[in-house]
């Protein structure tokens, strides 16, 4: 033992030294450093969580924005569609109306023409009757009384009218 340098006092001294160092290093090195590491770990976790949350928020708001945009676009499309439809309808309406009016105008004009013609024919008939009467009177010279003559002329004219 002596030859190996073993000595109870020095052995105890080294043992005590180790225990003292254990306590001191625990107090001044391990505890502060471990606390620091734990604290930092906590902090990093927190900030990672916050970042994750912020990212989720950004994604959500982006989505909302896009939805809003799509909705607006859809609405605009709808409005345009509706306006086009309305314009189309209006055009058709106007066209129909115009056509109808033209039709009416034409009809009225035709009616008027027909009426006038009728009028003219009646007048002509009258005049022819008058004229033929006076001619006949002149020719025959009052051989017939006036009423009998008129009857004859009218018969004649009616036959002529049927022939027409």
């Amino acid at each position: 033992m002596e030859a190996l340098g073993l000595n109870l006092n020095f052995f105890i001294a080294q043992t005590v030294n180790f225990i003292v160092m254990l306590v001191l290093l625990r107090m001044f090195l391990y505890r502060p450093i471990m606390n620091m590491l734990d604290q930092r770990r906590e902090k990093i976790r927190e900030s990672l969580q916050a970042a994750e949350k912020a990212r989720a928020e950004v994604v959500a708001s982006q989505k909302a924005y896009e939805e809003e945009l799509a909705k607006a676009r859809r609405e605009a499309q709808e409005i345009i569609e509706r306006a086009r439809e309305a314009a189309e309808r209006q055009r058709n309406e106007i066209l129909a109306e115009a056509r109808q009016e033209a039709e009416q105008l034409k009809k009225r004009a035709q009616e008027e023409i027909a009426y006038e013609r009728q009028q003219m024919l009646a007048q002509l008939r009258d005049e022819v009757a008058q004229l033929s009467l006076s001619i006949a009177q002149k020719v025959i010279g009052a051989a017939l009384d006036e009423s009998k003559q008129r009857e004859l002329v009218e018969k004649f004219i009616a036959e002529a009218g049927d022939l027409k």
Partner: protein, 334 residues
């Protein structure tokens, strides 16, 4: 081959060899007396082993490191704090891998073993350790001729064989030397050779802690006592069934005996592994410096840096593994 014969390489080689030869011729280094027990440095009338002073130096280094590293803790670490965090976190994660839930309890012990051993080991490599001290009269064996350099004294590599052994023998030798020498002796208490030159041995102030069995054995005993403590704490009285085992018949009993012996053997292997490696490293450095004082020892310093780390790591890791195996129930195989 062409690269090796480059003129630059040749010049470097010549310079290296030249430096080695010059150092061997003009700056010889004595081969110190190699002894197992630590030399006692006389302090206030006590003989304090230089290995213990070395341990205190390692303690101071560690405390200083701890205080400086944790003095101004920052969230974004730099400098020493960063280094301390790196070491501690790295070691803690290793401890956690092996110890699991018990890491918080065991970590300080494992870490302290590692730090104390590595710092003590690495201090050995600092110039001045093992080489600065007081010169004393040899107590026996060999002495060295002492020369004065400025205000300091140095031992040369000229050996003087001391015929008389022990303190009294040295005194007898001094008595026989007469007046003039006695005056010189009173100056610094060294004996003289017949031709009037002083001789003595160097007692270094510092010597690597692990070259003293008291240090390594203290750590080994602490480690193994804690192994038993944690084993009992985890398993209660059933922990002892590992050592005294009647259930497994005669074979089980013998296995128990072997377990008991191996617990003691672990202490011894712990103590001597660390002691042997560091002591051998110290002797290696002495011999290399003695053979060629300049440049040759450099690679060996690198080697010892590595050995110092490995031994500290091995000591801490083995302690951890023994802790872990002690808390495991060992009667599963019945």
């Amino acid at each position: 081959m062409k690269r090796l014969l480059n003129p630059k390489v040749l010049v470097a080689l010549v310079l290296i060899v030249g430096a080695m030869v010059i150092s061997k011729m003009y700056f010889p280094v004595p081969l110190p007396g190699i002894q197992l027990p630590a030399e006692g440095v006389p302090i206030l009338g006590f003989r304090v082993p230089n290995t213990f002073i070395h341990t205190i130096l390692a303690d101071i280094t560690l405390i200083l490191f701890a205080v400086l590293a944790t003095r101004n803790m920052k969230d974004i670490p730099d400098g020493l704090q960063n280094f301390a965090e790196w070491v501690i976190e790295g070691f803690y994660s290793i401890t956690e891998d092996i110890a699991g839930d018990r890491a918080r309890r065991w970590f300080p012990i494992i870490m302290t073993i590692f730090l104390l051993v590595i710092v003590a080991n690495w201090w050995e490599l600092v110039p001045g350790v093992d080489s600065v001290g007081v010169i004393e009269a040899p107590h026996g064996g060999k002495g060295y001729i002492v020369e004065k350099i400025g205000p300091f004294y140095t031992v040369t590599n000229e050996e003087v064989v001391v015929e008389h052994y022990g303190e009294e023998g040295a005194k007898e030798a001094e008595k026989g030397e007469g007046g003039a020498e006695a005056e010189a002796k009173e100056e610094h208490g060294l004996p003289k050779t017949e031709d009037g030159r002083e001789y003595g041995v160097l007692i270094p102030f510092l010597r690597a802690s692990a070259t003293d069995l008291n240090f390594t054995l203290a750590l080994a005993v602490i480690s193994m006592v804690l192994v038993q403590y944690y084993g009992i704490q985890a398993l209660g009285m059933s922990y002892f069934s590992k050592f005294i085992n009647f259930k497994g018949g005669i074979m089980g009993f013998i296995v128990g005996l072997i377990e008991t012996v191996s617990e003691v053997a672990k202490i011894i292997s712990f103590a001597f592994r660390l002691f042997g490696n560091i002591f051998a490293g110290q002797v290696l450095l002495f011999i290399m410096a003695f053979l060629v004082p300049w440049l040759l020892p450099v690679p060996f310093f690198g080697l010892e840096l590595f050995v110092g780390f490995i031994q500290a790591f091995v000591f801490a890791m083995l302690t951890l593994v023994f802790f872990a195996s002690a808390v495991e129930a060992h009667d599963e195989h019945h």
